[in-house]
C-alpha cells in the first residue's frame, strides 16, 4: 500500500550533512563555535537572564554534544552536531522586532493544524518568536495569565525567573543547556489557585523553514493548587526544509493541580527536533501526557516527570510512526520520590521502511516511595524487514512495598487476525491497514480531548491507508 522508498526517499539527504563521510568530533565540532558566536550576539537582557544563559552556554560547551552515553546509546546526534545552524531571530537583519518573521507565515498555513477549533486559545510562535497577529487567546479569565515569555522577561510580569531553569535542570542535558543559553521566547502560562481553563491552550511552533535555522523555544507552565488546564504543543513546518528545533518546556504542578499535556510533533521530513518536557508534581497533582511523534529526519522527545508529593499521579502515553530513513527516539523518565503515587505509561511505535525507532523509559522508585503503583509498556509493530526498533524499559526500585510492572514487545502483523479479516471478505491490503491502524488507535483512545483524538485518528488512518503522507 505505501511505497516507502518513493514516498519518504527525500529524507536521505538530511542525515548526511555537508561534509558527508568526515568523522565528527562531537565534543568540539565547529558548530559549537557558531553557537558561541550567536550566544555573544544576543540582545540585552535582564541580569538574571544573562547569568542563566551564561550558565547554560558554559554547561553546553563543557558537555559537548552527547555521544554514545547511556541516554543516547541508540541515537547519534552527529547530523545535528556537524551542521552550523544559524540562530533564528538573531540572524535576521538587525535585531528582530515584534512580528517581523510572522509575516512569512499566514493564518491559512496554520488552518490544518488547528483541529478546526476556533474557540481554543491559540498562541503561535514562528521560528521560536511569538506572533501576536497569528494568535488569539481572549477570555481566559482572571485567574489565568498567558503571555509570551519574551514579554514577561521584558516587563517582569509573573517573574518567570522564579521557575526558569529550576525544573529543567541541565547539568547532564546538553540540549537543555543549549536551549537555556538561548532563552528568549516561548509561552508562559500561569494558572492561579483553583483556575480552570475550559478550552485547551494550543501552542503552535511553526518552523518557517528558510535558511538553515535553529530555534530554541522555551515554555513555562506554572499551575497553582487545584488549577486545571489542557495544553497542546504542536511543532509544525510550512516548508519541507532543513532546520533544527531545540525546545524545552518546564511544567510545575501545585497541590491537586491537573494538567493534560499533549505534544504533537509534525516537523518537516528533513528537519531535526529535540524536545524536552520536564515536570515536577506536588501532592495529589495529576499529569496526563501524550506524545505524538511522526516528523523529522532525526527527532528526539524527552518527557521527564518527578512525583515529588504524596499521591501524585502521572500517565505518560505516546505514539511514534516512522518511515523512510527517519530516526525517532522517545525517552521518558518517571521519578517516584514520594509514596502512594501511581504512574502508567504506554508507548507504541509503528515502523516502516528503513526507519529506526527508539524507546527508553526509566522508572526510578526512591526509598521513600512506598506503595508505588507503576505500570509501563512499550509495544512496537514492524511493517518492513528493514525497519528497526530499540526498546529499553528500565525499572529501578529502592523501596520494598511497591507494585511495578514493565514490558516491551516487538512484532509483526498477526497472521491469525489477518486470516480472520480475509475470511470476512477484507483483502490483504485493507486488512493490513486496518490492523496497523488498530494497533496505533489503541493508545490514541487514551487521549481525553476528543477533537484532538479524532484528528489524530484521521491522520493515522490516512497515513496507513496510503492516501496521505
Amino acid at each position: 500500500m505505501i511505497d516507502t522508498a518513493t514516498r519518504k526517499g527525500t529524507r536521505d539527504n538530511a542525515a548526511v550533512g555537508k561534509n558527508g563521510a568526515d568523522p565528527v568530533n562531537l565534543r568540539a565540532p565547529g558548530s559549537i563555535e557558531a553557537y558561541r558566536a550567536d550566544f555573544e550576539r544576543q540582545p540585552a537582557a535582564p541580569e538574571w537572564l544573562r547569568s542563566l544563559r551564561a550558565e547554560g552556554m558554559a554547561r553546553f560547551e563543557a558537555l559537548g554534544f552527547p555521544t554514545k552515553n547511556e541516554d543516547w546509546h541508540f541515537t547519534s546526534v552527529a547530523p545535528i552536531a556537524e551542521q552550523s545552524f544559524r540562530t533564528a531571530m538573531i540572524n535576521k537583519a538587525g535585531v528582530s522586532s515584534e512580528g517581523s518573521t510572522a509575516g512569512m507565515v499566514a493564518a491559512a498555513d496554520l488552518r490544518r493544524f488547528t483541529f478546526d477549533q476556533p474557540t481554543w486559545h491559540t498562541l503561535v510562535f514562528v521560528n521560536g518568536e511569538f506572533s501576536e497577529n497569528l494568535s488569539s487567546y481572549a477570555g481566559l479569565g482572571e485567574k489565568v495569565r498567558v503571555n509570551s515569555l519574551a514579554k514577561a522577561i521584558h516587563s517582569g510580569v509573573g517573574r518567570p525567573e522564579r521557575h526558569l531553569g529550576k525544573i529543567a535542570v541541565f547539568d547532564n542535558h546538553a540540549f537543555t543547556a543549549l536551549n537555556t543559553a538561548f532563552i528568549r521566547d516561548g509561552a508562559f502560562v500561569e494558572l492561579q489557585a483553583d483556575a480552570v481553563v475550559d478550552q485547551p491552550i494550543h501552542l503552535i511552533f511553526v518552523a518557517e523553514g528558510q535558511g538553515e535555522a535553529v530555534s530554541h523555544p522555551r515554555n513555562l507552565i506554572v499551575a497553582a493548587q487545584n488549577s486545571r488546564a489542557s495544553i497542546i504543543e504542536s511543532y509544525i513546518c510550512v516548508r519541507d526544509n532543513l532546520y533544527f528545533t531545540n525546545a524545552v518546556t518546564e511544567i510545575s504542578l501545585g497541590e491537586g493541580a491537573h494538567i493534560d499535556h499533549y505534544k504533537i510533533q509534525l516537523e518537516s521530513e528533513k528537519s531535526f527536533h529535540v524536545g524536552t518536557t520536564q515536570i515536577r508534581q506536588a501532592r495529589d497533582s495529576q499529569l496526563h501526557s501524550f506524545s505524538y511523534a511522526v516528523g523529522g529526519s532525526l527527532a528526539r522527545t524527552n518527557i521527564y516527570t518527578s512525583l515529588d508529593g504524596d499521591a501524585a499521579t502521572c500517565t505518560l502515553n505516546g505514539l511514534y510512526l516512522t518511515d523512510g530513513v527517519q530516526h525517532i527516539d522517545n525517552q521518558t523518565s518517571i521519578e517516584h520520590i514520594a509514596p502512594n503515587c501511581p504512574s502508567h505509561e504506554v508507548y507504541k511505535g509503528v515502523l516502516d521502511g528503513r526507519s529506526h525507532g527508539v524507546f527508553n523509559g526509566k522508572v526510578y522508585v526512591h526509598p521513600e516511595a512506598q506503595k508505588t503503583d507503576g505500570k509501563q509498556s512499550n509495544n512496537n509493530l514492524l511493517l518492513s524487514p528493514s525497519a528497526r526498533v530499540d526498546t529499553k524499559p528500565q525499572l529501578e526500585i529502592f523501596a520494598d512495598d511497591v507494585k511495578c510492572t514493565h514490558g516491551a514487545t516487538v512484532g509483526r502483523l498477526d497472521e491469525v487476525a489477518m486470516f480472520y479479516l480475509n475470511s470476512r471478505g477484507i483483502g490483504r491490503e485493507s486488512a493490513r491497514t486496518l490492523l496497523t491502524y488498530a494497533f496505533a488507535a489503541d493508545v490514541l483512545e487514551t487521549i481525553e480531548l476528543k477533537p484532538l483524538r479524532e484528528q489524530l485518528e484521521r491522520l493515522v488512518l490516512a497515513r496507513f491507508a496510503g492516501s496521505e503522507s
Binding site: 498477526d414 497472521e415 491469525v416 487476525a417 486470516f419 480472520y420 479479516l421 480475509n422 475470511s423 470476512r424 471478505g425 477484507i426 483483502g427 490483504r428 485493507s430 486488512a431 486496518l434 490492523l435 491502524y437 488498530a438 494497533f439 496505533a440 488507535a441 489503541d442 483512545e445
Partner: protein, 223 residues
C-alpha cells in the same frame, strides 16, 4: 460430525482458505469454480463464511467498522455500491436482535474481552449481516451454555433459506436438537465414513464413534 482429531476443523479451515493449511490432493468445486484457487477474501466475496471455533480478538477495531468494511468489500466485489455508516446501522439493527445483542456491541473492539458465548453470538451476528451462500460453523456449540446455544441455533434457523447452505461442524448431538440437519456426514481419520439423515446423529449419541472409527481406519488404509 466426528470424533476429536478426525479432521472436521481442518475441513472447515481449508474451505475458508486458511493459508496455514496446504492442500496436497483433491479439488473443491464451488458453484462451478475451483475454490482452492481463490484467496480467502475472494471466497468470502463469493459467499463463503466461516464461523470460527476460536474467534480472533482485534483490539482497536470496532465491530461496526470491521463489519461495515467487510460488508462493503463484499458489495464492491459484486458490483454494488458501498453503503454509508447510517444505512449500515439500519441494516444491522434487526440482526442484533436475532442474536440478542445490544447496539453497544457495535462500538466494542472485535471480540476483545468477550465471554465465550458473546464471541460465538458475534460470529452468528456477522453471518446474519453478511448473509453468505455457504456458511461453515466450526464447533460453534463448544463452550456454550444452554441459553447461548439456543440463541445461536435460533440465529442459524432464522437465516436458513433455499438460497443458502450451512455446514455445521460439531462433536456432540446436542446442537442438533436445536438445528435440525438435512444430512449428517461422519468424518473419521480425514474421510467421510458414513452419511445419513438426522437419525444418524441420534445413533452416534447412543453408540459413540468407536464403531465408525474402525471403518475410517480401514478406508484410510485402503486408499
Amino acid at each position: 460430525m466426528g470424533p476429536n482429531g478426525s479432521g472436521k476443523s481442518t475441513l472447515a479451515q481449508v474451505l475458508a482458505g486458511n493459508p496455514t493449511y496446504e492442500v496436497t490432493r483433491g479439488t473443491v468445486s464451488y458453484n462451478g469454480q475451483n475454490l482452492l484457487e481463490m484467496d480467502p477474501e475472494v471466497r468470502a466475496q463469493n459467499g463463503i463464511f466461516l464461523a470460527f471455533q476460536y474467534p480472533v480478538e482485534i483490539p482497536g477495531v470496532s465491530i461496526a467498522y470491521f463489519l461495515r468494511s467487510a460488508y462493503n468489500e463484499i458489495r464492491k466485489a459484486n458490483g454494488m455500491e458501498e453503503i454509508d455508516p447510517l444505512e449500515f446501522l439500519d441494516l444491522v439493527e434487526d440482526k442484533l436482535k436475532l442474536v440478542d445483542m445490544d447496539q453497544a456491541l457495535l462500538s466494542r473492539s472485535v471480540n476483545q474481552g468477550f465471554s465465550g458465548g458473546e464471541k460465538k453470538r458475534n460470529e452468528i451476528f456477522q453471518m446474519a449481516v453478511l448473509s453468505p451462500r455457504l456458511a461453515i460453523l466450526d464447533e460453534t456449540d463448544s463452550g456454550l451454555d444452554i441459553d447461548a446455544l439456543r440463541i445461536v441455533a435460533q440465529g442459524v434457523n432464522t437465516l436458513r433459506s433455499p438460497e443458502n447452505a450451512t455446514i455445521v461442524v460439531t462433536h456432540y448431538q446436542r446442537l442438533l436438537n436445536y438445528i435440525v440437519p438435512d444430512f449428517v456426514h461422519v468424518i473419521a481419520n480425514g474421510r467421510i465414513v458414513k452419511s445419513g439423515g438426522k437419525e444418524l446423529a441420534f445413533e452416534l449419541e447412543e453408540k459413540g464413534y468407536d464403531w465408525l472409527q474402525n471403518v475410517g481406519a480401514d478406508a484410510g488404509a485402503a486408499a
